[in-house]
Every structure is written in C-alpha cells, then in structure tokens.
C-alpha cells in the first residue's frame, strides 16, 4: 500500500445490489452493461498524452463526477494508489478493464482513475483507452434501463467537460471502431441449453450477420467457461443510441427464446441425463475439497440450469451469480486476508462454495 491509500475510500465488499433476485430474465441473463467512450477537447488521447496531461484530466474528471447528481455519493480512486488486490477485485467485478489497471508487473499508468456510485452500478473509468469510459451495470436483462442511467450521467458530465465532437463523425474516440455514439452495450448470458443441444454455433454465427459480436467469459479473445457468453453491438456509427440498444435487445430476446426452447427439448428428450448432470454438478460442489476456477464455473453452470428448470430447489440464481464473483481469486484472497497460491486458492474456493451452498439450503 502506498501512502495515499489511506485517503482512498475502501472498495468494500458491498455493491452487488444489482444482483437482484427479481432481475428480469435473471435465470438466463446475468447482467446488462452499457459503456460510452468520451474524450475531451484539447488533449491527446490517453495513450499519447503526457503524464501531466493525464493527471490534469484526472482532476477535471474527479470534479465532474463529484458534481454529477445522478451519481449521488460518489467514490473516486486514483488507480495507482489502490492495493493490487483491490485492482483485481474491481476487475473480477467487471467494474474496470484490464487496460485501466495495467499489467501486474507495471501497474496502472499515471492518472488512471475510477469513479463509482455507492451502489457501484454507475460510474466511469478515467484515462483508459479513451479519456472517459462512462459505464453502467445492471442485473438481468435491463439494457434500456441501464442506458437511461448512463445517458443522464453523460448529460451531466458533458455539461461540465467539453467533449471532442465532430459534426459528421460524432463523439471522437481513440479507436475508430468506437467513434460516433461511442456506445458499447453488452449482456452477459448463460446458454447451456444451446451448447448442450449443439445449436450454439448456428445461433452465434447468425448473430454475426446482424451487427453484434460475442465472446467468452473474460472478454476479447478469451475462452468460453461455464457456458457464459458476452454479446454486444459491433458498430457504433450510423445509428442512434436508442436504435443500437433496441437492436441488441431484440436480438438477445431472440437468443433467450432459443435457449428456452433448447432447455425444453432437453427436458423432454433427455430428462434422465439432464437430471443426472445437474445433481452430479451439485454433489461435487457440495463435497469437493479443491476446486479450480474453471471447473467450478462449469459445475455452477449445471447447477444454474438445474435451478432454473426447477430440478433443484436451491440456491437461487442470484446467489449463484454472487458465488461466481466471490469465488474468484482476488475475492478469495481478500476474504482470507492473505495472498493465495493456486493450490491454496482452489482449497479456499472449495470451502467457500461448500459454505455458500449449505447456507442456501438452510434458507
């Protein structure tokens, strides 16, 4: 910890309110996120900017977020002053990008900042690839509501800081793939039915034709774990924000429909196999003494499917989503109060999962 850390507010273990039991389509869609890329006039983009420029920008951003009414009580961090475990914690909550926290060897670049509302649902990254990346996160399938919050934050910040804007090209961004609206909306979605019935390829490739893109759990280039996918809009220019959101929402709506059909087919065609798979997954999670992260995610995928098909009574899907977050390495290390090597982490994870499942059962 550096000297300044004392001045930073704690990240805290709270702020998962967005994982709501009642979240719309929460058994299939885990979360909805919208991000807006914005840059300020008169500065080079973050990668080109000098350390002084990045710091000047950080202070402007700090003042703008503190004045933004929609954020209510806002916490602001200079990322370099955060403990390395806290940085990973934020990454595991999907509240920062890898780019913002930097490589483990080098740490973040000078002037990297993060603002988050007390609920952690709304905020912005500062001096990431773009000067500002405004973001909002909601549980379940709630793209429109997420956009409404973000739009309001954008209005407030844009009224205080002069954005770089071009009549023809719209909001200017470091990478031309984000220019125009600067909007990237995504849903984090669980599709075991489509994977098990081998329709996932057809469905995902079909989406590729319609202006959306998909990836595995950890973002770009990462592999698929636990049948989780992130689906987002591919282009940002030539359509209004509302149209981009609407288009993605309709497409994801269709994917949800296909997933439900696939689950119904599995229940009808292979009920015994399915039930066995679900209970085995549950059994292993309840009794294992060592659980690597990917294995846990794959087993939780089975349990989640079982719960949403009512083959299992507990845990609730929002409890499973919480487990997916808390059983990641930095979260475990924070709970343990010490650094964990891989074997330690797997053992710690197994005991955390056992306790979480026991707690869910007795409720």
């Amino acid at each position: 910890m550096t000297d300044g850390a004392a001045a930073s507010p704690p990240i805290g273990t709270h702020g998962l309110d967005w994982l709501d039991e009642e979240a719309p389509d929460g058994d299939i869609v885990i979360s909805s996120r919208v991000r807006l890329a914005r840059n300020l006039q008169g500065y080079s983009f973050s990668a080109q900017a000098t350390g002084e420029e990045r710091e000047a920008l950080l202070e402007k951003a700090r003042a703008a977020t503190e004045a933004a009414g929609v954020l209510e009580a806002v916490d602001f961090w200079e990322v370099s002053r955060l403990d390395p475990v806290d940085r990973l914690l934020l990454l595991e909550r999907r509240l920062v990008s890898k780019e913002l926290i930097g490589k483990p060897e080098t740490g973040p670049r000078r002037g990297s900042g993060l603002a988050l509302s007390r609920t952690r649902a709304l905020g912005m990254m500062v001096n990431e690839e773009d000067h500002l990346r405004l973001q909002t996160l909601r549980g379940g399938f709630q793209l429109v509501a997420a956009w409404r919050d973000l739009d309001q934050l954008d209005e407030e910040v844009g009224a205080r800081l002069p954005y770089a804007y071009h009549q023809e090209f719209g909001f200017l961004t470091s990478c031309p793939t984000n220019v125009g609206t600067g909007l990237r909306a995504s849903v984090f979605i669980h599709l075991p039915g489509l994977v098990l019935t081998r329709q996932i390829r057809k469905v995902l490739e079909g989406m590729g034709q319609l202006g959306v893109t998909y990836r595995g759990l950890y973002g770009e280039g990462s592999r698929i774990v636990g049948n989780l996918f992130q689906i987002s809009n591919q282009t940002t220019l030539g359509k209004t924000e509302e149209d981009l959101i609407d288009q993605l929402e309709r497409l994801v709506g269709r994917v949800i429909g296909y997933e439900k059909q696939a689950r119904a087919v599995l229940l009808r065609e292979a009920p015994n196999v399915l039930e066995d798979k679900v209970w085995r997954a549950y059994g292993i999670l309840c009794h294992a003494r060592s659980l690597p992260f990917e294995e846990m995610m794959n087993l939780l995928s089975g349990v989640r499917l079982g719960v949403s098909l009512k083959l299992l009574k507990s845990p609730r899907v929002d409890v499973i989503s919480r487990m997916m977050i808390h059983a990641q390495t930095a979260h475990l290390a924070r709970a343990a109060g010490r650094r964990l090597d891989e074997a330690d982490a797997d053992a710690f994870r197994a005991s955390y999962v056992r306790r979480a499942l026991n707690g869910a059962e007795s409720n």
Binding site: G158, G180, L204, L237, T240, E269, D276
Partner: protein
C-alpha cells in the same frame, strides 16, 4: 490435459454434448473447439475487423505511410495502420478523407446519427447547464412517453426557475 480430439495441443475448452440421450464431455484445444463450432469469440470483433481493413489490400491506398502526420500530435498514417488507434481528436480532421472511407467499411456509414452535442463553456453558469440538461431530458422523456420521469423533470425545472 491434452486435447481429446487431436492429442497434440493442450485442452482449453470443455465441451459437453448430448446426443441420443447420451452425454459426453470432450476436452478440446481451441483449434478443435473452433472446428467443432464453439469458438471463443466471433461475429468478427471490431478491432480485428479494423486491422484487417487497414492491413489488407484495401488499406494500402487509404493510409499511405509517406503521407503527412497530424499537426497537433504527430501521429502518422503508418502509426495508425500499426496500432489501429489515433493520437488525438485533431487526427480526425487531418485524416478525414481516409477515415470517412474506412468508417464506411467498418460501420457501414460515416454519418453520426446519435446524440447531438453542443459544448458548453467550462465556466458556464452551472445552474444554466443543469437547466438545459433537464430540458433536453424532459423532451426525450415526453418523446418516449415516459411520463413518470417527465413529471419528475418538470418539477426539477420548476424548482430551478422559480424565484424564491
């Protein structure tokens, strides 16, 4: 664990399939998983798509290495072709002809249709800024028939404009 399909590369993806009421689990490398139809990403990611446009034969004529650099930040066409990132907002003016063509290829359009932005002076009266923000939001709320928000916004505007 080695890939159960090719036996050559390391298994990275666990694929579970159900066929004829029988389930099997396959541990596959990314290559074999892709061949089986489960790739880790697709529908062409925006950045890969952009670099393909820049590096391919179509990109050659657009961003000529020998061309001028941005006057403000010094980013040249060659830098952009390598990284896919521009240096500053002025780069859009410097390379506007080439970017227009590139944006049409990548986004299918070069014309922004989204929010209109009018920069307010940084030292503008914060109350006026807040007021204009509220008015714009009210317009939008009425447009999308979100009457609940509209009522709240009207109240907020009243509170700001009423002389105490």
């Amino acid at each position: 664990m080695d890939c159960e399909n090719c036996g050559e590369r390391k298994a990275k993806i666990t694929l579970t399939e159900i066929e004829n009421n029988e389930m099997r689990t396959l541990n596959l490398c990314t290559t074999c998983a892709t061949l089986k139809g489960v790739s880790a990403g697709g529908g062409s990611a925006p950045m890969a798509d952009l670099l393909a446009h820049l590096g391919g034969s179509t990109g050659d004529t657009l961003f000529d290495e020998a061309g001028e650099a941005c006057e403000y930040c010094g980013t040249g066409a060659g830098d952009f072709r390598k990284s896919g990132r521009l240096g500053c907002p002025q780069c859009y003016a410097q390379f506007d002809r080439q970017l227009r063509a590139l944006l049409r290829r990548v986004h299918g359009s070069s014309q922004h249709m989204g929010k209109v932005y009018v920069s307010t002076a940084p030292d503008a009266d914060p109350e006026q800024v807040r007021l204009s923000t509220l008015r714009r939001r009210l317009e939008r709320a009425v447009e999308i028939e979100d009457f609940e928000s509209a009522a709240d916004l009207r109240d907020a505007i009243h509170a700001l404009t009423e002389v105490p």
